[in-house]
């Protein structure tokens, strides 16, 4: 067992392996200071709730307190490894400022109350609004961090009980485009690839996916391949010099907002050179001729002008991809949160489709998720879609869901697409949504154009319910605050980005009167008197396992079939990949294995949308185009971003994340090792621009867009010239003002534009026009981490490089100690 500072070395020690070999085990452990493994009372099984990778781990419990974590060696996802957020993030559970009692607003102030009073207030308002206006007055906005059982319950309440179309999750901000791109290409959500594709791939292409920071253990797997025999070639598309870019065979750094032009040019060369599997295209796809025709307009020389990337690099990328034998493709926020999100992500799918590289070892697509349980938000209908990937524009699907819930099909709103969160905010703004129930998310920091968002949430006429574990910026604006239990304090399941389902068991009691989200939703349903058509309670389950059994029945026969999974099957051993049913009792590693898709008109989740206008495709049109349910190749023209640099705002602003923080830092900001590693906001700019504007490392600068301003210390980095980067994690809960700026802004979303992708409805966080001005000299380097994409360029003091505080030392153990390097 070796000790290692996992803040300074986020990916730990290499355990190299070769193509087709098993990834070696390395068990990572971190316990509270002074504790040894033998001091622990119990180890309780779970997986990580601080990113989408699904790292399986056990929680160490002593005296009814969480005292540490240890990776699960036997799990398929991480083979024992944990990332920095896994190792240190658990400490947030024990924070002294957890919410422990319900709060209600009295005389303008939030005061403590009991559950009966708080719930009655929510129920009274719900009933009054239903009587006065109907279901259109109520909206539910949830998260990517609850459990499947909770989402399914919430979706059933909203769609089947209240009958509102206004249901969404904050997965809209992180993973809506992943879902939409899969729906467009394959007729249905569902991750084609598997993490084991990393073990076999000879080329891994990462598009806007800084995996080293967002899913650090998946990057560890890639690093171990790179350190072993016959390593894969890596292609990285990212405007920042991420750890992926530095390890890449080829790094393309396009101008923000131009991804479609770049992808079309890569496709142009792949098709022009005939690096395609014509037999696969003929047998298993529709739409190839449209793509061929469209990308002909994008020779690399033209795209080079649009994207600001040398044509030779585009040609080289096409050549490497075109010669790949086992191509693994991954995508994340650099595409999802940018201009033309869905159109760009679909072109990535097109590459694997036309090369026939799906459903075989090493050949896969990972349209990644941002959050740990985002997949469940999508499956269970908490993102507004109908449960278990049912198609809202297919009457037979609606009828079938009504059968599962034992209600009248007319009770399920399906007259138009579900209302996404940005539209819900608009309805709250125009006064037609009058109650908004926010669970487990923090829109007052995470949505674009915060001054507007605060203005909407603060309205007297909007009844705001917030269910959370801390008094977040959003909770401070609420009329009722419901204290929730979280990971480690409740039981449930969740599913990672490669369809692996894990069980997360209760390890300790929640603090004070805090209750599991499931209990809160079930309580609401009963107090509301929600009934099925026989007058029985709509919600027929009462605890996590009975909720899971209900969800399984709902998923029966659908792509995300959970019917073969039980809690006892998930206990011990490894997580299981869906679909898991009678035909696939051990789960399914790769879907789409033999060119078979879930795209048949009677079975598919959606008929798709126009990638540019977002208009839903008519069912009859889909049936004519794709009667046999093949993969759908969709082409798209490049459309420039809606906000382009100007004389007043000559730069482009992109926002993003760092390895050491998660979302709005409600948990990671309360873990000392993580908070110390990335303690405050910074802004990255290139050395070129630093020279132009007379700004140096560590100086205080002001970043402005037409919507607001943020002050941050400057990191001079290797970012693409003309581009600024701000991390979006830093709000106001740990400042004097509490929920809004007091003077200078700190949250990146003060600056972002209210605009979203027309197909996925995902907001655009990575294409705003901005300017930067020097404010004051600095006394040292900026607080940005030096281990990651925010690494400094030029001379930099050694003592200011990122390293852990004393308690950051963690344990690492190989399966065979001698095999470790």
């Amino acid at each position: 067992m070796a000790q290692i500072d996992r803040i300074a070395e986020p990916w730990g020690t290499r355990t190299p392996y070769g193509s087709g070999d098993e990834w070696p085990v390395r068990v990572d452990t971190h316990l509270a200071e002074g504790l040894a493994p033998e001091d622990v009372d119990a180890w309780v099984q779970t997986a990580s709730l601080l990113h989408s990778n699904g790292d399986a781990m056990d929680i160490a419990v002593k005296d009814n307190r969480i005292v540490g974590v240890r990776g699960r060696a036997e799990d398929r996802v991480n083979h024992g490894r944990l990332g920095p957020k896994d190792l240190y993030g658990w400490q947030a559970n024990g924070s002294a400022d957890r919410l422990t009692r319900p709060l209600i607003r009295e005389g303008g102030k939030l005061v403590e109350t009991d559950w009966d009073t708080a719930m009655q207030r929510v129920v009274d308002r719900s009933k009054a609004l239903l009587a006065e206006q109907g279901p259109s007055a109520l909206g539910f906005y949830t998260t990517g961090q609850l459990f499947a059982e909770e989402y399914y319950t919430l979706g059933t309440i909203a769609h089947g009980g209240i009958g509102t179309n206004h249901v969404d999750g904050n997965t809209r901000l992180c993973t809506a485009t992943a879902a939409e791109a899969l729906k467009e290409s394959f007729g249905c959500d569902g991750q084609p690839g598997s993490y084991t594709d990393v073990d076999h791939a000879d080329v891994i292409a990462l598009y806007g996916h800084n995996v080293a920071e967002t899913q650090s253990v998946l990057w560890t797997r890639m690093l171990d391949r790179l350190a072993g025999p016959n390593p894969p070639k890596i292609i990285c598309v990212d405007p920042r010099p991420t750890p992926v870019a530095k390890a890449a065979t080829l790094h393309l750094a396009p101008r923000p907002g131009t991804n479609v032009a770049l992808m079309n040019a890569i496709l142009h060369d792949i098709i022009a050179n005939g690096w395609i599997d014509r037999e696969y295209v003929r047998a298993h796809t529709v739409g190839f001729s449209d793509l061929e025709k469209e990308v002909r307009k994008y020779p690399p020389a033209l795209a080079a002008e649009i994207c600001g990337v040398p044509a030779e690099q585009i040609q080289e990328a096409a050549r490497i991809i075109g010669h790949a034998e086992r191509l693994l493709t991954t995508v994340l926020q650099g595409f999802y949160q940018s201009n033309q999100a869905t159109a760009a992500a679909v072109q990535v799918n097109n590459i694997n489709i036309i090369r026939g590289m799906l459903g075989k070892p090493g050949c896969g697509i990972l349209q990644m998720n941002g959050q740990p349980t985002a997949e469940n938000t999508r499956e269970c209908g908490a993102d507004g879609d109908l449960a278990a990937f049912r198609n809202w524009s297919n009457d037979a699907h609606v009828k079938d869901l009504a059968r599962v819930w034992n209600i009248d099909p007319m009770s399920i709103p399906h007259y138009s697409p579900p209302t996404h969160v940005m539209q819900m905010m608009r309805y709250a703004e125009d006064g037609s949504i009058r109650m908004l129930w926010v669970s487990g998310t923090n829109p007052a920091v995470s949505l674009p154009e915060l001054a507007r968002v605060r203005g909407i949430l603060k309205q007297e006429r909007l009844f705001l319910v917030v269910q959370d574990i801390f008094l977040s910026e959003t909770a401070q604006l609420a009329d009722v605050v419901l204290p929730a239990a979280t990971w480690g304090e409740k039981t449930g399941t969740f599913t990672n980005a490669d369809r692996t389902v894990h069980l997360s068991e209760k390890a300790v009691d929640p603090p004070g009167e805090a209750r599991p989200d499931l209990d809160i939703f079930v309580d609401y349903a009963h107090r509301m008197g929600l009934k099925d058509k026989d007058g029985q309670p709509l919600i027929k389950w009462h605890d996590p396992e009975s909720a899971f059994e209900a969800w399984k029945e709902c998923s029966r026969g659908r792509p995300c079939d959970y019917t073969g999974i039980t809690y006892s099957k998930l206990r011990g051993g490894s997580g299981v990949q869906w679909p898991c049913n009678d035909e696939n009792p051990d789960g399914t590693e790769r879907i789409y294995a033999d060119g078979k898709f879930w795209a048949h008109p009677e079975y598919c989740e959606t008929y798709g949308r126009d990638l540019i206008t977002g208009a839903p495709v008519d069912p009859s049109e889909y049936k004519a185009l794709n009667p046999e349910g093949k993969a759908i190749i969709k082409a798209a023209e490049y459309v420039p971003p809606h906000e382009l640099p100007s004389r007043d705002f000559p730069l482009q602003l992109i926002t993003g994340r760092t390895l050491y923080q998660f979302h709005t830092r409600t948990k990671t900001g309360r873990a000392p090792e993580l908070q110390a590693a990335a303690p405050d906001v910074w802004v990255e700019l290139s050395a070129d621009d630093a020279g132009t504007y007379g700004i140096a490392e560590g100086d205080l600068a002001e970043v402005e867009t037409p919507r607001g301003s943020v002050r941050a210390r400057v990191r001079v980095s290797g970012i693409r010239p003309g581009v600024l980067f701000l991390p979006f994690h830093y709000g106001y809960w740990d400042t004097e003002a509490g929920h809004e700026p007091d003077g200078a802004g700190r949250a990146a979303n003060e600056l972002t534009i209210t605009d979203w992708d027309a197909a996925s409805k995902q907001p655009i966080f990575k294409t705003a026009a901005a300017r930067i001005t020097w404010v004051a000299g600095g006394e040292g380097p900026s607080p940005a981490p030096t281990t990651t994409a925010s690494a400094p360029v030029g001379d930099f003091p050694q003592e200011a490089r990122t390293k852990g505080i004393a308690s950051a030392l963690s344990d690492e153990a190989g399966s065979t100690e001698g095999g470790m390097r």
């Binding site: 697409p417 608009r426 977002g614 208009a615």
Partner: protein, 160 residues
């Protein structure tokens, strides 16, 4: 041979559609998807105007290649007005009215393209047929967008 007349009518109706899209964009700035998409889709019609003008000379018509100008000062005034009324429920009804009008206009343009395509086929005129094949699909997408937005917006506006 009435090709000139058909082209002249298309030139007028595309100009009109582009202008209407821009006006809707300005009037509904608080509905951000309407604002941004209407501007993107106006550019399609503006390009159609240029394409029609480029070919019209061969059919004896002298048509202005420049699309009708954007509204300038009026744009700013309408945007401000839009922001001020954005929190009032009446804006929803105005939106439905404007989307309905837009849908009908786009249908009209689509019908004009059909007339042109039919004539071009009758005369075996590849140039005109090529023009219709290039532009008409975009008109249909404009139509479907307006129709989709209308459906999507109607329920909330009408039941609330």
């Amino acid at each position: 041979m009435k090709f000139g007349l058909v082209l002249k009518e298309l030139h007028r109706s595309e100009n009109d559609l582009a202008h209407h899209l821009l006006v809707i964009s300005e009037q509904h700035k608080v509905d951000h998807e309407i604002y941004h998409l209407a501007r993107d889709l106006a550019r399609w019609s503006q390009q159609h105007v240029r394409d029609i003008a480029a070919i019209a000379g061969s059919y004896g018509e002298d048509l202005d290649p420049e699309p009708r100008g954007e509204a300038g000062l009026m744009e700013t005034l309408r945007e401000k007005g839009s922001e001020m009324v954005g929190r009032r429920p009446e804006t929803g009804m105005l939106l439905l009215r404007d989307l309905r009008e837009l849908y009908l206009r786009a249908c009209g343009v689509s019908a004009d393209w059909e007339l042109l395509a039919q004539a071009a086929q009758g005369k075996k005129d590849q140039d005109l047929l090529g023009l219709a094949e290039k532009c008409h699909p975009q008109t249909i997408r404009q139509m479907k967008w307006a129709n989709g937005k209308l459906k999507e917006s109607a329920t909330q506006v009408l039941v609330s």
